[in-house]
Symmetry: C2
Subunit: 223 residues, 2 copies
Amino acid sequence: MKRVRIQQTVLSHNATTADALRQHFAERRLLVLNLLSSPGSGKTSLLERTAVALRDRLRMAVIEGDLQTDRDAERVRRAGVPAVQINTAGGCHLSAEMIQEVLPQLDLTGLDVLFIENVGNLVCPAEFDLGEDATVLLISVTEGDDKPGKYPPAFLKADVVVLNKADLIPHTNFEPQRFLDDLSRIKGDLPVLTLSCTRGQGLEAWFDWLQARIRLKKEGRRA
Amino acid sequence: MKRVRIQQTVLSHNATTADALRQHFAERRLLVLNLLSSPGSGKTSLLERTAVALRDRLRMAVIEGDLQTDRDAERVRRAGVPAVQINTAGGCHLSAEMIQEVLPQLDLTGLDVLFIENVGNLVCPAEFDLGEDATVLLISVTEGDDKPGKYPPAFLKADVVVLNKADLIPHTNFEPQRFLDDLSRIKGDLPVLTLSCTRGQGLEAWFDWLQARIRLKKEGRRA
């Protein structure tokens, strides 16, 4: 009971900071996306692909969350994108306070979208609002088609699912229809974009989704 | 600072319960293994393979940890193994108290090994001792060869690494040597067993490791 109360206090404090961040982003009409997934589902690969393909069409920046190393920030910087690395030193998720703390390191002027790549963890990050407009949940087909039912909080928080590594479907026992059926029991109207970052397949639907969100945000509507 | 103290209290309480469990298991000379991995790395598949292949050579039981559903317990039961499902209702790891609570549901008489399949999460479960003799860390090659450096606590806790889905290496950019080099910077002497549960390849080394541990435990030596 005591732990529940402590957790509620932490979440309530986080929500206050997240609301302040959301206001800050809204004033700039800057779209902010929270990327959630298990370790190694392809969050950084998606950012690299997006950076290269849309180089002439949009300006992006990235906040990277990892327990250790600045490998992911280095990867997106090599793709030509400004990036700030947060090391949680063992912490299992990013918090709104961490975002607030590193934000001064980024120049938001003229940016179209800020991606926040969360710590690789399909559980804890789902509880923490970071002031984002939307949550992008990545699942790789190699994780199995049974994940929606087993990890409901992440799917409930998500606004879109990116089903990555689709090129590996023929080599696994992943059945797309079983995944969709399972998902429909958790959140039936959640759009699913099936693609492969390594092969560069199916990315157009993701680029379209992203650019539509940016347009909505620039028009001052809820993105 | 306050959160750090709370966390230390939780961990200290968990350690006390874990020690009691370890004593309980030691009196029965029962080997207990804590299975850790990201979601979908193949923990349940490894248990299914082990149950079927070693059916005539050892007696096992399983405690399954998941946020929701009893799918994993059902899977191992179908492989002929007694299983108890813990649903954490959103909780990101198993605790020693949860194990203590469900233990009366299992008949430990004559068992050779008790597997505890933790919640799919490469971060939080690494902090919680469950009274196990050893931790088996599963990584699937599709998660990428950069995981040791990015998730040190799980690798530091592990006693053996099962590198699963090796059949998919030709279809990914996973480089075994890069993985081993990264691992050597975290814990150089950690044994790595490379295998494929779905193809049934490389499993003998895992069976040998497991049976050697069971023998040690039965002899009353530190398994």
